[in-house]
Symmetry: C2
Subunit: 417 residues, 2 copies
């Protein structure tokens, strides 16, 4: 494994982890553009633009894009997050040049007005579909209230109003601003010839201009009050709790990952034994979300309304217990085994290494090998988890309720209607 | 990569593909026991037994099993098919001994009566859940009618009656019969020390007795007539077509895989362009199923009832067209790229190689490297696809309809009620 890094004169960065023994190559364009960069008027434009990227260029129709990716057997996709938009593909090494040609085309799409109008309907349907998912609706509401004056609280999909009113010109302006060469890095992993990679990127991207691309980073944020959304649309109650957590560049990052696994992992965690195993919930999750300037611990449960208050008491008791007595050494060991195995098992595929390489580059502007990641994990101490729990109180959380329960947000919990 | 093979004196076989460069090890117990080995009275016992395997041994409770797999960060699971039951785990190489201990324990469970009674309810709920899935119900019905007098038509889940009436003693008798050492092989891939592997298996499995284990293989089968299940339970119509296909050991196997991709792949296939892309169906699939003695091509679609007959006409026209004019050379090339990329991308993880290694061993009693698989794929000719289509007519199919449409099976198609 060898790491390389270079910046073109237009500001576009290239990072690669070359593994001569790999059987495939993975390639991704990471654009520093997402919901957090949107004003309310253009809310959802990043995600809409990601869809439009597949509609083709001057030399390719949408059908050509699909067919050509298919011809080289590429496993390809794209996604839009609150802080970045990513286009990626995994291919056999001999198809790297064609994959690069296709991916670079996605980043510089034609944005035809006809396609724009048709795709808008697809996006509006997607918004309607997600609005039907209670866990998603509760999550979006919780993030919006936790990060009330911060871009991380923005919705990735946008609203029916904002997307409905969006024009192709507004999207073009956003593209010019945010898709500048200096706001993009290309990452590659697996069987990569570094010099060939740089030549290919020069060929396709050297004439891309830079953009405005400023992003206001803010390590503080205001939190709104709890919210109870009472609706008969769902039989089950969805509850989301959010509290502050370290940002992605914080020294306590790995301790946060470990704590999330101890409290909320699928198997063997505190939530698993207290809530999932006795069948008290349909679903329960405890996750650590980290961004460049802020972070959050998120608890999500779905359960029968008449068990909701009791379940919340169980969760609060677990939060109090880890705050007062800390976590057990055996829990730390077990979570280290679990996360260590995941890091290693994921590292076997270039397409997974791509994500890890890009995460380090996005949030910490550095490279870390699998061995370094494992060493970081191994180095977490019980004292660090204590420090983490002292500085980021899980009990100091926002709560959002969605479902049949009604009540006012000042009471300890809503009641069954 | 180095392949090894050995048979213990009790008949248990061991196969391994050792890759010193891999980061993990994958391990699986492949038991030649499945729905096809069941009489109607014990229908569902293989799948029920697979659940019971996780309930523990004399030295471990069910909770111990979960906790111990979790302690070593194992990614583990099990599944029951119509012709085999598989227990597998992927771990870091240093945990291979503990994973072996745990997996071997699954194959020799205690089968406590208390656990049996509790788990029976879980299975009955699973049967009810699957009965609510129209695509599953139509699939099971189609397989039952296609293989009317053949074990491949048996249901993996069994029925509420058969599972409800099952006794722990009947399960024990089935276990003694089918889980004999001579009916099992252990496969391992990734970072494996062959001698350590054999020693571990000797330690845990050498005292296992052989079982009865005979299985009647039959290369012929009787097909029942079409069936139309008219029900208001679903808004959409589900249709499954089944026709004969080569068995898993047939020379035309790879040509069958290729044909399935040309006709029905997710992207770029005939069905994709004719049915999916114009939005005529909710879902469409064309798959090749291969077993040791028989095979089947399966078409499944879900669509609005008023489009069902037209969609079926489109499908029949595609079947006629490939029968009369064959497939295009470009289609073959594209499908080869697609399948080749999948073979290579899958080969990067020991846990995926395990499946490929075991498939070759189960159905062809031989080892094939990734390179051999790719060479086999590359060697498929347009003449072979022609021979395949001549010998296995897609137009000579069974049809099962499930949904609002009613009619009699002798008419060309049901009509809207």
């Amino acid at each position: 494994m060898k790491f390389h890094h270079q910046t073109l004169s237009n500001g576009l960065q290239i990072v690669a982890e070359c593994n001569p023994d790999a059987l495939s190559a993975a390639l991704g364009f990471f654009v520093r553009a997402g919901a957090r960069d949107e004003t309310p008027e253009i809310s959802g434009v990043s995600h809409f633009l990601e869809h439009m990227a597949f509609k083709g260029t001057d030399k390719r129709t949408a059908e050509d894009v699909n067919r050509e990716f298919d011809e080289i057997g590429a496993k390809y996709n794209a996604y839009t997050a609150v802080d970045q938009t990513v286009y990626h593909a995994a291919v056999l090494p001999e198809y790297l040049p064609r994959a690069m040609d296709l991916l670079a085309g996605l980043i510089r799409p034609t944005l035809r007005v006809d396609d724009f109008d048709v795709e808008k309907q697809v996006i509006l349907e997607e918004i309607a579909m997600y609005a039907d998912l209670p866990s998603w609706t509760a999550y979006e509401c919780a993030m919006r209230r936790q990060f009330a004056d911060h871009g991380i609280g923005n919705s990735v999909l946008g609203t029916v109003d904002s997307v409905g009113a969006l024009t192709a010109d507004a999207m073009r302006a956003y593209h010019t601003d945010r898709y500048g060469a200096n706001n993009i890095f290309v990452a590659a992993t697996g069987k990569i010839d570094w010099h060939q990679l740089v030549d290919l990127i020069e060929e396709h991207c050297a004439d891309w201009s830079a953009g405005a691309s400023e992003r206001g980073c803010d390590r503080t944020h205001r939190r709104d009050s709890d919210e109870i959304i009472c609706t008969d649309a769902y039989v089950q109650e969805s509850i989301v709790l959010v509290s502050d957590a370290p940002a992605a560049d914080a020294p306590l990052r790995m301790a946060s990952e470990l704590l999330a696994s101890i409290i909320g992992d699928d198997s063997g965690s505190r939530f698993h034994w207290a809530l999932e195993e006795p069948g008290r919930v349909d679903s329960v999750e405890f996750a650590y979300y980290a961004y460049e300037d802020v972070g959050a611990f998120l608890t999500s449960i779905g359960c029968q309304p008449d068990l909701a208050e009791e379940n919340l008491d169980i969760i609060k008791a677990i939060f109090r217990e880890v705050a007062e007595r800390g976590v057990e050494p055996e829990e730390i060991d077990q979570a280290k085994h679990r996360l260590g195995a995941r890091i290693v098992l994921a590292a076997e595929r270039p397409q997974n290494r791509l994500q890890s390489l890009a995460d380090h580059w996005t949030y910490r502007q550095r490279y870390a090998s699998v061995e370094e990641d494992l060493a970081l994990l191994e180095a977490v101490t019980i004292e660090q988890t204590k420090e983490l729990l002292d500085r980021y109180s899980l009990s100091n959380h926002l709560a959002v309720w969605l479902g049949p329960l009604k009540g006012d947000a000042t009471a300890s919990a809503p009641s069954l209607s």
